[in-house]
């Protein structure tokens, strides 16, 4: 009996790999099919993103003379390329869904006025500007050199000591009103901030605002509520502020 039991066990143990050997083949085939389908979807998504970036690059090149967005495009492609094999099921959806929401041209025109004071704010602003530029994406940034900034500040003396200043002009507002009447942008005076963390926090708040409210019609109300924290809702937000607010507002 014992021998027969051992014999049956051995036959079971021998038969398991045989049964298992058919399942892995089917599983391999299904995995291969899923992988090929996922790879196709991933390549489609990359092509869609590359098309969008290519359009922006062409637009940027038309304004700048070319080569402005190369690091951003390379970075985005490398990120997408790294995840194409494993997480390709998740990536195509949001990218394909996001492309129609991208506006046709730039919504904002951003100017940086910096007369070059030897203080913390200009240094921190310059260090964070490449990332700020990468995040704003389609909106062009114009950095005034020291001579231009000084000349401008001599004409507008109320701004002396408040630089570096980031001016964001709402291009859509210009087109709607046909001029510069009413509220037509945001100006951030980074010269009031005295730590690198505060400057970085302010720039983070601004870029988050610009990205989030890119399609908004009424920028003024949103600035008053979200950036200046006016009214009772703003007071509640200040009291319950997150890490960025604490860094930014910790005077």
């Amino acid at each position: 009996m014992a021998k027969s039991r051992i014999a049956t066990r051995s036959t079971r143990s021998q038969s398991r790999p045989r049964r298992g050997s058919t399942k892995p083949k089917a599983a391999e085939e299904s995995i291969a099919a899923a992988a090929s389908a996922a790879a196709e979807r991933a390549t489609d998504a990359i092509a869609a993103v590359a098309a969008v970036l290519g359009d922006e690059g062409v637009a940027g090149a038309a304004e700048t003379g070319g080569g402005a967005d190369e690091p951003i495009a390379e970075g985005v492609e490398s990120v997408l390329g790294g995840g194409e094999a494993a997480e390709s099921d998740k990536s195509p959806g949001p990218v394909a869904g996001a492309s129609p929401a991208v506006p046709a041209g730039p919504r904002f025109r951003i100017f940086v006025i910096d007369s070059g004071w030897h203080s913390v704010a200009p240094k921190a602003m310059r260090e964070n500007l490449p990332l700020f530029h990468a995040l704003t994406g389609d909106d062009p940034i114009y950095v005034l050199d020291q001579a231009m900034s000084v000349a401008l500040l001599r004409r507008h003396q109320e701004l002396i000591g408040q630089d570096p200043i980031i001016c964001v002009h709402d291009i859509r507002k210009f087109e709607q009103t046909g001029g510069t009447d009413g509220v037509h942008g945001i100006r951030m005076h980074l010269g009031h901030l005295h730590t690198e963390q505060a400057v970085a926090g302010a720039m983070q708040m601004l870029v988050q605002f610009l990205i989030r409210h890119r399609m908004a019609d009424d920028i003024e109300a949103l600035v008053r509520t979200n950036l200046r924290r006016e009214g009772i809702a703003g007071a509640i937000k200040i009291m319950a502020g997150g890490a960025v607010e604490h860094e930014f507002l910790g005077i």
Binding site: G60, E63, T64, G65, G67, A68, E70, P71, R109, F111, V112, R126, L129, P130, H133, A134, P140, I141, Y142, V143, L144, M148, L152, R155, H156, L159, C167, V168, H169, G179, T180, D181, G182, V183, H184, G185, I186, R187, M188, H189, L190, H192, L193, A202, E220, V223, R224, L227, R228, R229, E230, G234, A235, I238, M239, L249, I251
Partner: protein
Amino acid sequence: MFERWTLTEIVAVGAAALAVAYMMFEVSRRQKHLREVVNLIEGRDAVLTRELEELVSSGALQSYRVSAVR
């Protein structure tokens, strides 16, 4: 009215009033700080806006490039 209050109640109400006053002061201070840092570009800033836009349209200002600054 206040004759009926015990010393403990007076101290508690005073502390609560101080806490509320401090909170209002702190919120007001932070809102003022935000108003100093974040400004709306309005009609009175039209001259500055026009000058900046003219710098772009005249070609005196070129768009920012990461590689050029680095």
